[in-house]
């Protein structure tokens, strides 16, 4: 990728991170850690990869996105807002009564949200349905879904994995956000779901590992996924939970907690420093 484009995407991803912190801080609750870990991938998907149109969020031939790890809605909302689906200012209404920005994605009311999610394991199945429908009706669109690594402990993820391979859904690309942490601790301590690469390969998927915070690596992953025929692709995205906010990085404490006023200031200062470095 052109290095000026990489810089642009980095700037956008940093704005997405600010939007995440802004939303969660104003809501005084929510899930910042896993939102920050997928900010770069969301940015790549919405600003580079997917065929979508914020002016026509329901256009029939659009690529679809399902946030299977629905609790990281602050990341999706910030990305959608920056992409122009709704005003960035609205991020401050996250989780508040009468806001359309529900705690977990609500496809009925939020422009750009293709599937309501939140209960783990369900989103990847819905993405399979979208991909199957596209294949059955001869549509050329692609379907993307982001899973959590903790989420992969849900049995339904493997039912969906079996289904996608059985029906050769090569228009489906799942991204597994491997940040290594879940609510109760390290994924390997709570209920070890690894190794994801070997498991998904055994289920009939093509697996490609990337650095979730390196746009060149992200691009290689999505390019490769487009080339794969006859099977779905899993992009195993090695990420840092809380990425970009110093005290949240790799900390299990910031899975589902909002920063207090001073912590908010520190977080925004951290992100501002990154913004400066990207000028």
């Amino acid at each position: 990728m052109d290095q000026s484009r990489v810089l642009e995407l980095k700037r956008t991803a940093n704005e997405v991170r600010k939007g995440i912190v802004e939303g969660v801080y104003n809501a005084a609750c929510g899930h910042p850690g896993g939102s920050l870990s997928i900010a770069d991938i969301l940015t790549y998907l919405y600003f580079e990869e997917m065929n979508i149109d914020p002016k026509d969020p329901k256009k029939a031939d659009r690529d679809r996105f399902v946030l299977s790890k629905g609790h990281t809605a602050p990341g999706l909302y910030a990305t959608l807002a920056l992409r122009g689906f709704f005003p960035v200012e609205e991020l401050k209404t996250l989780r508040k009564i009468d806001s359309r920005l529900q705690g977990h994605p609500d496809m009925k009311h939020i422009p750009g949200v293709d599937m309501s999610t939140g209960s783990l394991g369900l989103g990847i199945s819905a993405a399979c349905g979208m991909a199957l429908s596209a294949k059955t009706y001869g549509m050329n669109n692609r379907v993307y879904t982001i899973l959590g690594d903790g989420e992969s402990e849900e049995g339904q993820v493997w039912e969906a994995a079996m289904f996608a391979a059985h029906y050769k859904l090569d228009n489906l690309c799942a991204i597994l956000d491997l940040n290594g942490l879940q609510i109760d601790g390290k994924i390997t301590d709570v209920m070890n779901p690894t190794p994801h690469d070997e498991k998904f390969r055994a289920f009939g998927w093509h697996v490609y590992t990337i650095d979730a915070h390196d746009f060149n690596s992200i691009e290689l992953g999505f390019r490769e996924a487009r080339q794969v025929k006859g099977k779905p692709t899993l992009i195993l995205a090695k990420s840092v939970k809380g990425k970009g906010v110093s005290y949240m990085e790799n900390s299990v404490d910031w899975h589902g907690k909002a920063p207090k006023a001073d912590e908010y200031e520190t977080a925004m200062a951290d992100l501002e420093k990154i913004a400066e470095s990207l000028k």
């Binding site: 679809r64 199945s125 399979c128 199957l132 429908s133 059955t136 339904q156």
Partner: protein, 314 residues
Amino acid sequence: MAEKKATREAYGAALAALGEKYDFLVLDADLAAATKTGMFKKKFPERFFDCGIAEGNMMSVAAGIASTGKTVFASSFAMFAAGRAFEQVRNSIGYPHLNVKIGATHAGITVGEDGATHQCNEDLALMRTIPGMTVICPADATEAYAAVEAAINFVGPVYLRFGRFAVPDLSAEMKDYKFEIGKGVTYRDGKDVTIVATGFMVHLAMEAAEMLEKEGISARVIDIHTVKPLAEELLVNAAKETGAIVTAEEHNVIGGLGAAVCECVSAKCPVPVLRVGVEDKFGKSGTVPALLEAYGLTAAHIAEEAKAAVALKK
């Protein structure tokens, strides 16, 4: 005597026939031979997808298909469609109000010899509590066929409940039979008591009404094929005009049709309501006639309860 046919047979026949007229997909979870979706599969193999024994995944896959603007049926036994996959039906289909039709067969104790693990007496209760879910339990084959077509033409999630064993096709003998979601069908007028039934219990309600007639009690019989939304006006009028109600369903007396009728009349026209159904028990193995007898799902029991309801009138 009306011809006997299982409502699941009508479901399969309807899918296969209506597949010509309407564009929809059908999913099943390794039960196509039993749910009768196999009839559709044979005719439209390119529109049928087996999901294997993974009902939760099937429901969320159905939601994904529906989100692309396509109509889709998802089938399994009631136990697994409403029971095992409840959460997927609620969150993937119900919450976003997606256009998925859930075809649930082998409901209730008339599953027979397979016993309690497969006899779902809780599905109406489960499905009824999902906001925006339409819940339909056809009385017989003709009504089941009509319900499938109505569901196709209806936009929104629909739960369709079908049975395994053959029951008299009363609707086939009715003049000008018409199916409309959210309405009820008055099979017989009466002034002393109303029997409100759903599913195959409708034909037992008709037998009960004949028994009651011999004893000088005039019983109205209403088929409530749509358990949700309920035909409230029809029921309130029945309460007003007959002053007592007996409900009859092949389902736990908790949470199903009986509960729905109580919720309606207690608020709008309180009259005695007695409920015939499975008395908060699990099922067991046995032949269908033996099970119906053992669980009190008989015309004689309905008639008995009707008399008790009449006696409760002020």
